[in-house]
Symmetry: C2
Subunit: 344 residues, 2 copies
Amino acid sequence: MSEDATPAARRARRGSGAVTLHEVARLAGVAPITASRALNTPSQVSAELVRRVTEAVASTGYVPNRVAGGLASARSRLVAAMVPTISGPVFLGTVRALNEALVAQGYQLMLGQSGYADSREDALLEAIISRRPDGIVLTGITHSPLGRRRLLASGIPVVETWDLTSTPIDMLVGFSHSDVGRAVVNFLWANGRRRLAMIGGDDERSMRRQQAFHTAAQAAGLPAVPVITVPAPTTLKSGRCALSELLLTSPDVDAVFCSSDLLALGVMTEARVRGVAVPGQLAVVGFGDLEFAADLDPALTTVRIDSMAIGRQAAQFIVDRAEGREVTSRVVDVGFSIVQRDST
Amino acid sequence: MSEDATPAARRARRGSGAVTLHEVARLAGVAPITASRALNTPSQVSAELVRRVTEAVASTGYVPNRVAGGLASARSRLVAAMVPTISGPVFLGTVRALNEALVAQGYQLMLGQSGYADSREDALLEAIISRRPDGIVLTGITHSPLGRRRLLASGIPVVETWDLTSTPIDMLVGFSHSDVGRAVVNFLWANGRRRLAMIGGDDERSMRRQQAFHTAAQAAGLPAVPVITVPAPTTLKSGRCALSELLLTSPDVDAVFCSSDLLALGVMTEARVRGVAVPGQLAVVGFGDLEFAADLDPALTTVRIDSMAIGRQAAQFIVDRAEGREVTSRVVDVGFSIVQRDST
DNA sequence: GTGAAAGCGCTAACAA
DNA sequence: TTGTTAGCGCTTTCAC
């Protein structure tokens, strides 16, 4: 496959021993830069040379070293995304769509988990910036002032997602969590429900939905809304526990808004075990419209977020910027909708 | 925060304009190499100089360029992992544990999704190798001959996971899927079930469980086992559909082994809708022991895989290799267990 | 304990 | 269309 030179001889003093562009160029009888062009911008090179270089690549099994390429060109073709945890199924759609859109345009996604703790978020951010990606996508992150400063100083394009704010670092794709809280109150009211409750995770965005939900119910003249907060990430179990707790203090609630579909599944499970009819006695609304929501029994009414659209738009923002295209808008509100099914 | 030189002046002809080690060294009044040592191997530098360098770092907001560092040292402190899709919750535990173990030791995880198609797997593999990571973790991947050759040629440490094979590329952490199939047959037999069925995804590992399940039932003298195969990744919906289909042809089955917990949830949902009692008329066994399994109603009996242990061991293998430690064993069988709950 | 020189593998800039 | 030269920012090697 290779040549007469032994690996030991090839790796004179340093280097990994892998085939380099130099080697490929030598075999094809051209200068390294020509081999580089044949591979990256073949239109600039004669067809004959492209053929010879391609052949040399095939015969050596050459895989370009993008670390070196990135250093020389200051373009890594790498995009980093930061999520609290990949276990939370909420951002899954966004990450998948982001990955697909990036791969289709020749970029690669590097995923990092920050956890729900601030300290690790800063460490991860430094690790990310130190790789000089062409863009950074932040999903559901509340960034520390230090992180914000570092991001700004790095000059790397940043897309914040899953939220709207009046002070974005750079670009923004999201929706209003307060609007969600208010919309669900209106929806339940229109469905004849009057004794509302909410169960939500303790992350910042969920808290804003809770806040708005509470306020809107009050404004509508409804009785005080019991709110149960559970630790993020939310689980089926925390949903079950929360409903138990809720029924203890407010046995007469007739509707619950859960801050995730998984939580809603937990609530419905616990309701069934306790003989509480859904939707008869209790209406349940989820959040996220995960893939399983429509197939539950009863099918779950939930707030649908176009998670994939968020990922696609984030990819577009970053690729546009990386290719030097002019970006017209830097903020996109993807909105949301309430999908009515059998649980209300 | 910065100095008198404008960004424009600093970025002479090339370069990103970010603060470099050079700059830090100049501010601290030392040579660049000393600054490098102060940051990476402080024990080799006098305390006073370490202090001055640290100060210069703080005052400039310097973030090291690990692309350059990686090129010079041939060590990236980057580990790549490849999963079919992050939507499949099965590998989530592994990825999370892998990430945690790596971060704790100063490495960073780069996650790539290959999809369930071979063509993309090869492309992703090339993209990964081109970044020269210090290790590659393959999760549930059936690699093409080309991929295998590339991996071998790259010289990068590789850990294959979630399976056992007699011909590993390099290192291996997994368990026997055939053993799982056999064990579940024995388990159901011991529970008095005789008319077994199986519902599984069409990925390779699930197929091996199906095969072994089928064969073991036959060997035990049980009636022919109906096997329903659904497309991977498996969903709640495909579980519901599969049970409907199953009951059409074999209304008398008394136990179903599902190749994922999500599938099992679908089966239990459909059973409830149809008035089929679980476990009374139908025993249900899942696979994975995902977090929600214990909290379903009825609680799900399932095959428990220590997903996190797989991730931790994979991290250990790679870090050991990267630090040049001698690796005694290259293969670890983490086994599995059957967790009996209320669905059987 | 500190530094000078060289080079990792590639590509931007300039030249022919 | 092709090549020469000079770095990208860091760390290795070797010398003091």
